[in-house]
């Protein structure tokens, strides 16, 4: 057969551009054959090739037994390949690991340094508790090996052993400590110990306090920056336990900060001071403030350094930690931090974003949010540009169908130089904005009008997945996130509407605008399925009396209920419809004139027409609501036709319209309720949820099933009523605003220019409102285009001149110093004084809880949510992908040598000897069995394929299947070794029998079958 070296393989790969797949499959096949052969050289080469291919994602777990074979080779270079194979391919469930124990132990005691190194560096990758237990006795003596390279590696390996098998530390720690204390120890070994202690330190800092003097000595004298960094990190975990350390540490730390040329060390010093809680130690003599200022100035310097983004990044990281304790110090650095928010580097941006959330207060909230909004807006306009370039009207950042996700990201990013932000980032920014504004129950927010405008703007900027993809997208997680964020914005608007009575009108109007524009405005990216429309529809319904045009809103809602609207949204729309209707129709005062009658009848006909098709909607919830409301309206329609109209007040409107329907929706005002308050509601004693409401329910349902409703086709009626109105009230914007206003760069020198992040129509409305508000203010200078010949003051004088002099009418009464001063100072046309807003004393309702609530009620959820609230629960339970679980070791005390029951080291060794004996026996059995199975295989001949193999390895040839089996037996026998050895049985079946009662995992059952099966085959 043609043999290929690794070199040939790689050459071949490079020569087979285009059909690599085929080439790799062929190579794998060859490797499979080669690795089975007897020639060790060939085996090792094949293994090396497999390891190489594994790097590209070609599974080699099937070869684990051969890895073991190569590992046991006598030649060092082959052995090295074997060990590399083990490192790269062994997984916790690799079964041959049991067989490797002896080999590892043997190599650990090798005379050659290089050979000995192999098991030491391999063990951390394959370690299991039982393996740790058995190799520990061989590893420990290596701590005193004459070669420093062996010593330092052994120390680290012992640490990894301790992570899975904490008992390791009991015999190992005293020796490691001895090494650490030894001043003549090799510097690399000392550094390695420090690294290990640093890793162990944060779990159980108290155990390492006694080492502090030695560590301190190392910090001051060693002059090794790498080690100093680790030492400082270690001290940062120790200082909270021993406050006296602070005083000792500060002089060297500050001197390092002032003198060191190494930026990394400087940074870690500052970081150590922050993390060690030195900043906020109550001790005045330490001069915490002074230190804090020093740190902050240094960090500021790091951000300011031109051209070194890494320093920016780490400085932001450090600020993120300071902000928890000293938010004001960080807030002073707002200018440099805000620079970072606009950095082209997304890593830096994200860190700055984290930071901003922490340092926000009522003074800087608006400017920070404004900045973020501008980012979102600008990125969106870049998107619009992109749209013009591309024929397909899809968002460039959205996944395209035919490409892999990575490629799509590439395209989106590489397509233009404009800051085209990935959607994830946008979502993040939006979430942060909402978080900042709503934090501590809107405590930082002074201007709710502004907030509502921000929310309206966010609705337009938010990345919204189109409705079709939300149902068919294969990646639900990602999509949920996006739906979530748009719905979050809606929820915010709803919260404001509910909690802040003062701006309820504005909130309702905003909701109305969004609803109407969804259906009117083709440029709107909202669809009837958008999550945001759910809370929006609720607002429109609940606060229908605030709507500017209930009629238009109703039309929009009716339109939304059509088409392929998801049921979750339909529920909301359906509920909002009758609310708006009852508001429109239910006026008691109005006379029942013929016009009114006609109008209301028509209105009802329209609503009923829209509801009827939904009465057979497959979703039960939708169906129920549709049926309820349409039946109710039909009754009302009947009543309306029955009631004769009259021109005077003689005839009242039907009671059903004026009394019954409104009473469904009017009652106590709805308030926001704290999360968890519901739990405090006592369950009524007579409530039995198991009792059927109607015993005959299923029959009833069957009877009603499908009573031939045809889908209503688009008719004249429909077209007449549901055609969008040409212009709806609030979208009307001055034509001048459309003239190139959109892409205008910011001219204002003030950061707060709203034009830069709000859409023109919103800005126009704000300006109009401002004019309205200030029209009585003599000192308010209106924008030039509006100011005619007469000033407001002039007007007032004129109007007052005719009448008698009335002291109260003198405009001076309206002077408000705070307001006017601010007005004059700021640019009247753009900047609105926040001071005037602050005076408004807007009341924000707090969440309601039950009065009887015990301790379980979260007091005020908003304030707790702000920073840590989200993460706490997550931290538990789930394990991160690459995480090394060291939780076991946390419970292990180093100092408790005598107190807690000591595991007898000698006894353990005795046990190990016994185990070794047993293992030998097992090995012998295995060989016997292997030979037996080989005989069976030979007997089977061609029909060997009958053997059932483990599902996990579908391609394994049966030879391996049996090996698996034998391995499993070995494993089992280890547990029940006594019985097996007494038994002395060599028959695999018998062995399996012995094993069976001890079986723990179901998985093993299959393997046992694997052994029995060949027997069966032979019998047949």
């Amino acid at each position: 057969m043609f043999e290929k070296s690794l070199y040939d393989l790689i050459r071949g790969l490079r020569n087979h551009k285009g059909n690599e797949k085929e080439y790799i499959q062929n190579s794998l096949k060859e490797c499979r054959a080669e690795i089975r052969g007897q020639d060790m050289d060939l085996k090792a080469t094949a293994l090396l090739k497999l390891v190489y291919l594994e790097m590209f994602g070609h599974d080699m777990s099937w070869a684990s037994f051969h890895v073991l074979e190569v590992m046991s080779s006598a030649k060092y270079l082959q052995k090295r390949v074997g060990y590399l194979g083990a490192v790269q391919s062994f997984r916790p469930d690799t079964e041959v690991l049991m067989l490797a124990t002896n080999l590892l132990k043997k190599d650990l005691t090798s005379t050659s340094v290089t050979t000995m190194t192999l098991p030491i560096i391999t063990l951390p990758h394959v370690i299991t508790p039982s393996l740790a237990m058995s190799v520990l006795s061989d590893l420990l003596p290596r701590l005193t090996h004459s070669h420093p390279a062996i010593r330092k590696k052994t120390i680290v390996t012992l640490y990894r052993l301790a992570l899975v098998y904490p008992e390791t530390l009991r015999p190992a720690w005293p020796k490691i400590k001895e090494r650490l204390m030894d001043e003549s120890e090799d510097s690399s070994v000392t550094a390695a110990i420090v690294n290990v202690v640093c890793e162990l330190g944060w779990r159980r800092p108290s155990d390492f306090l006694p080492l502090a003097p030695r560590l301190f000595e190392l910090l001051v004298d060693s002059g090794n920056n790498w080690m100093a960094i680790k030492l400082i990190k270690l001290f940062a975990t120790l200082t909270p336990l021993e406050p006296r350390l602070v005083r000792k540490l500060l002089p060297p730390l500050t001197s390092i900060i002032r003198t060191t040329p190494a930026m990394s060390l400087l940074y870690e010093c500052i970081n150590g001071i922050i993390q060690g809680g030195i900043l906020d130690s109550g001790d005045d003599s330490v001069g915490g403030e002074e230190i804090a200022t020093l740190c902050v100035t240094k960090l500021r310097g790091m951000i300011m350094v031109e051209g070194d983004a890494n320093l920016k990044y780490v400085a932001l990281l450090a600020f993120n930690k300071i902000v928890l304790t000293h938010p004001y110090l960080v807030a002073q650095q707002e200018d440099v931090i805000m620079e970072c928010i606009d950095s082209p580097d997304i890593s830096i941006r994200l860190r700055a974003l984290d930071l901003v959330v922490g340092m926000v207060n009522s003074d800087n909230l608006m400017s920070i949010v404004g900045r973020l909004m501008r980012q979102l807006k600008n990125s969106r306009s870049a998107t619009a540009e992109e749209l013009n370039h591309r024929p397909a009207p899809i968002e460039p950042s959205a996944d395209s169908d035919d490409e892999s996700p990575e490629a799509a990201i590439k395209n989106a990013k590489g397509a233009s130089d404009a800051p085209l932000l990935p959607d994830d980032y946008k979502v993040d920014v939006i979430t942060r904005i909402l978080e900042m504004c709503s934090g501590s129950n809107y405590g930082n927010l002074v201007d709710f009008d502004w907030y509502i405008d921000i929310l309206t703007q966010l609705v337009r900027t938010a990345p919204i997945p189109d409705a079709t993809s939300s149902t068919s997208n294969p990646e639900p997680g990602q999509n949920d996130l996006k739906v979530d964020v748009s719905e979050k914005i809606g929820d915010e608007l709803r919260n404001v509407a509910v909690k802040v009575k003062a701006v309820r009108l504005q909130a309702a109007r905003a909701a109305e605008t969004i609803l109407v524009s969804t259906y009117n405005d083709s440029s709107s990216n909202l669809t009837s399925g958008s999550g945001i429309l759910r809370p929006i529809a609720w607002i429109a319904g609940e606060y229908a009396s605030y709507l500017a045009s209930p009629e238009g809103t109703l039309t929009a809602l009716l339109q939304l209920t059509k088409g392929a609207t998801p049921p979750e949204s339909l529920i909301f729309y359906l509920q909002a419809l009758p609310k708006i209707f009852s508001m429109m129709a239910g006026d008691e005062q109005l006379a029942w004139t013929p016009e009114r009658k006609t109008m209301i009848s028509l209105l009802m006909a329209r609503v009923i027409h829209a509801l009827e098709p939904l009465a057979i909607h497959p979703d039960l919830e939708v169906q129920e609501r549709a049926v309820e409301f349409s039946e109710l309206l039909k009754l009302a329609a009947e009543a309306a036709t029955g009631q004769e109209p009259s021109q005077d007040d003689a005839q009242d409107a039907p009671l059903l319209l004026t009394q019954a329907i409104p009473s469904l929706f009017i009652g106590l005002e709805l308030n926001s309720v704290a999360v968890g308050a519901q739990k405090n509601v006592p369950i009524p004693s007579n409530l039995d949820l198991n009792q059927p409401i109607n015993a005959n329910l299923s029959n009833l349902l069957k009877a009603v099933e499908f009573s031939g409703f045809d889908a209503v086709d688009e008719d004249e009626f429909e077209i007449y009523y549901h055609k969008p109105e040409a212009q709806s009230q609030s979208v009307a914007e001055p034509a001048t605003n459309r003239l190139g206003a959109a892409e205008e760069p910011v001219h204002s020198y003030q950061q707060g220019g709203e034009e830069s992040y709000l859409d023109p129509d919103i800005v126009a409305r704000r300006r109009a409102e401002r004019l309205e508000r200030n029209k009585d203010d003599p000192f308010y200078i209106p924008p030039s285009d509006r100011s005619g010949g007469s000033t407001p003051l002039h007007n007032i004088l004129q109007s007052n001149n005719g009448t008698d002099m009335d002291i109260d009418a003198i405009p001076i009464m309206q002077l408000d110093l705070g307001k006017t001063a601010a007005n004059k100072a700021g640019q009247p046309s753009t900047k609105r004084p926040s001071a005037s807003k602050a005076r408004q004393r807007i009341q924000v309702a707090a969440d309601e809880t039950l009065a009887t609530s015990g301790t379980s009620t979260p007091r005020n959820d908003d304030s707790e949510n702000s920073l840590e609230g989200h993460q706490r629960p997550k931290a538990k339970g789930k394990h991160s992908l690459l995480q090394v679980d060291s939780s076991h070791i946390g419970a292990f005390s180093l100092e408790g040598d005598g107190s807690s029951e000591p595991i007898d080291y000698e006894r353990q060794q005795r046990e190990e000897a016994e185990m070794a004996k047993a293992m030998k026996e097992v090995e012998r059995l295995r060989l016997e069995m292997q030979r037996a199975s080989e005989r069976i295989e030979a007997a089977k001949g061609v029909e060997g394929t009958v053997v059932k193999k483990k599902k996990k390895k579908p391609k394994v040839v049966e030879h391996e299947g049996e090996e698996d089996g034998s391995v499993a037996v070995v494993k089992k026998k280890k547990k029940s070794k006594k019985s097996v050895i007494d038994d002395g049985s060599l028959d695999p079946e018998a062995a399996a029998d012995v094993v069976k009662p001890k079986k723990k995992k179901k998985k093993k059952a299959k393997i046992d079958e694997g052994i029995v099966d060949p027997e069966g085959v032979v019998d047949s």
């Binding site: 994602g57 290089t114 991160s880 995480q883």
Partner: protein, 186 residues
Amino acid sequence: MINAVLVFNNAGQPRLTKFYTQLETSVQQRLISEIFALVSHRPTGSCNFLPLPPLLASSGTSSSSSPHEHNDIPSLVTYRHYATLYFIIISTATESPLALIDLIQVYVEALDRLFENVCELDLIFNFETLHACLAEIIVGGVVVETQLERVVEGVKSQGRVAKRPVNESRGVALGGMGGNFGWAGR
């Protein structure tokens, strides 16, 4: 501690993968491609730290978490770009970010010493040496050596370092350290 060391080229082809925790091969590949997607489109002059790839970010960590509770979770992805190659280190919060950048430099310099003007091809054909060199610097996710001489010495003690095959060396002028390997070949 260090959770993984990865090396891949400008096309995302892995040249070295070393995970200090056991991970399914398929998951490893996904992680590599996610990181590659992140790293391959960094604007010039950006920092050497990556935001967490989705695979790591989803597993329950957030950047603004308190420092002491999540020390087990990989929270830092540091990279360095040399000519055609990206060197990546994934680590937990117990490592110093700036020191990790230097550590990558140590690794690359050691390789340069071993191969004399190292280039991507050397690493492709001698990936065993690549592993051996890494094992001199990091064992089980903990840094054991940072001195260049000792690392080189350690690798050389294991046997002769193979040279690149003669006929492969055309156009392979990948020399010079400090981020400006000038490999113009291919």
